[in-house]
Symmetry: C2
Subunit: 329 residues, 2 copies
């Protein structure tokens, strides 16, 4: 990471969704290594934003949408944009598809279009997702896997990624999209069951509640601790070989049940039970998924380096120390 | 087509984009076979709409966007919706991406969402496109080909198709998407060079002008005469085996130059010349493309039945008889 540190030091960097889970972890790292960081966050529900995520930093957050005309100055001022803003919930996207479209497609198109109109060519890193692969047709899933979104969120995330690709190939904006898998860690919004099962399980475990596994929780997933994901973004942004490209991230593989069982060890007060799959969620659920990130590793040397047990223990430790800001009692 | 005729007779059918090229050809066929047809068209530029396309029919066209709340009554009244509305130009989508998004993504999401909210489950046929396959990685291209849109129009057309797929799998709306290839024929908007090269070549040939081929026009394409495409839509809508699915259409294969040379025979006053590729268009151009429609043929028996020479001759004949309404002099 030494080369990356030098790359960002004293550079003007914009983080959209900078009060959210992954965004705030990127902001904190960038501040640490001496970048000039600006933050935009629309503070909309369903994005995982939490002003406490930036506690201790003296940053003025611009509260607006990332594609808002008022964001123009921040966009045009940036040498690098970590474009992390977005809504995450698959379930919520089915209930309010237009809100999902605004956050995950429209805002990103507007942001890129501000760059195009002003002939401004910052490096743009986009937080994409493995979610639009849909149900895995082969495992592990690499970047050649068919795109087959099973819900509205997946459709808009793919549109968002595709905007970045087209604005790179046609307008020369150096963009990199990282297709994230299940990411967990400090500053995650864990009190909303729609924003990822790992966070929700942590929340329930830390309250001494019962973790409910749908259909036994046997489906496989892979997991990245957020620090590894931050490393991946900083690595990609500093490496011109990555520009114009799209990469999977992947991490330690385990079942959904595995996560519950590890948490039960860390938080002995909680229990785990099997329940049947709610029908509205079942319709957009996928079976086993785990990814192949060799394309990114071969190019950059990036690796997922935090074992799931270690990462979960650190995460619980963080939330224990900051309980008031993250846990609904 | 006899079974299909019976299927539509006396049914309430809505055609969105019904004043456009393909939409109006569908409307005319449906009226002929005795369906109760309603038409919505927003009459926006870049959609290929032309009120002359419905000449001779006594239909009240609702001039509005297909996802407009005012369209609700027409949507809820329909047993079958031919959802054909949209913008077609790749080039225009790069200049005004937000307008492309509104027409090709937002409006369709709103239309489907009106069905969801009212628990209305009409058969919905969607005019999709082979365009989001991007540059062909193998030929002929079948439906398993990777999705890799090269321009904004392709991104939004894929989002539009995906909405139909998700609203089918999750909400039980029986949708069918047909991925159209180069379609040509009577009632096409031929006076706008951005709405397909076949139409534009016809326009220039009929004015005795010079047809300009970019880089020799050697790239291969495949072509469908519009009557064959209308047959495909009516067949798909009447066949429950098609519901929830996506199909390529494909037609006679030839180079872009082939089309120019056939037109030169039909319209002896025109000439053909080679020019270099304009750089902004080159960036979103694809190489050879031709498709494989076996999935649809095996299921329904549909075939492209009009040879390119025959179709082009009929098309020129139509425009000759209706010159005033279609040709910019």
């Amino acid at each position: 990471m030494t080369a990356d540190k030098d790359y960002y030091r004293s550079k003007n960097v914009l983080v959209t969704g900078g009060e959210g889970f992954i965004g705030s972890n990127i902001v904190r790292r960038l501040v640490e290594i001496g970048a000039n960081v600006r933050v935009i966050d629309n503070r909309e529900s369903g994005t995982g934003c939490n002003p406490s995520n930036l506690d201790g930093l003296s940053l003025d957050v611009e509260v607006r949408r990332c594609g808002d005309p008022g964001a123009k100055e921040a966009i045009l001022d940036a040498a690098v944009i970590f474009n992390i803003a977005g809504k995450v919930s698959h379930h919520a996207s089915m209930l309010d598809p237009l809100a999902d479209m605004a956050a995950n497609a429209l805002d990103h198109l507007k942001l890129l279009d501000i760059c195009r109109e002003h002939e401004h060519r910052p490096v743009v890193l986009y937080a994409s997702t493995r979610q639009f692969y849909g149900s895995a047709q082969f495992l592990p899933v690499d970047e050649t896997h068919p795109i087959a979104p099973v819900d509205i969120n997946g459709i808009h995330k793919f549109a968002g990624e595709s905007y970045h690709s087209v604005y790179s190939s046609v307008h020369g904006i150096p963009t990199v999209s990282l297709r994230l898998t299940n990411t967990y860690g400090p500053r995650q919004c864990i009190s909303d069951s729609g924003l990822g099962f790992v966070g929700w399980f942590i929340h329930e475990a830390m309250r001494g509640r019962t973790i409910e596994l749908f259909d036994g929780g046997e489906a496989k997933r892979d997991f990245n601790y957020v620090d590894d994901v931050v490393n991946a973004f900083l690595t990609a942004g500093a490496d011109p070989e990555c520009y114009g490209r799209t990469f999977n991230l992947s991490g330690e593989m385990g079942s959904i049940r595995t996560v519950a069982e590890i948490l039960q060890k860390i938080c002995p007060g909680c229990s785990v039970t099997d329940v049947s799959f709610p029908s509205d969620r079942k319709k957009i659920a996928i079976e086993d998924y785990y990814g192949d990130s060799n394309r990114f590793r071969d190019l950059t040397g990036w690796r997922d380096s935090t074992p799931l047990e270690t990462g979960l223990a650190r995460t619980v430790e963080f939330f224990e120390a900051n309980r008031r800001d993250y846990i609904a009692e």
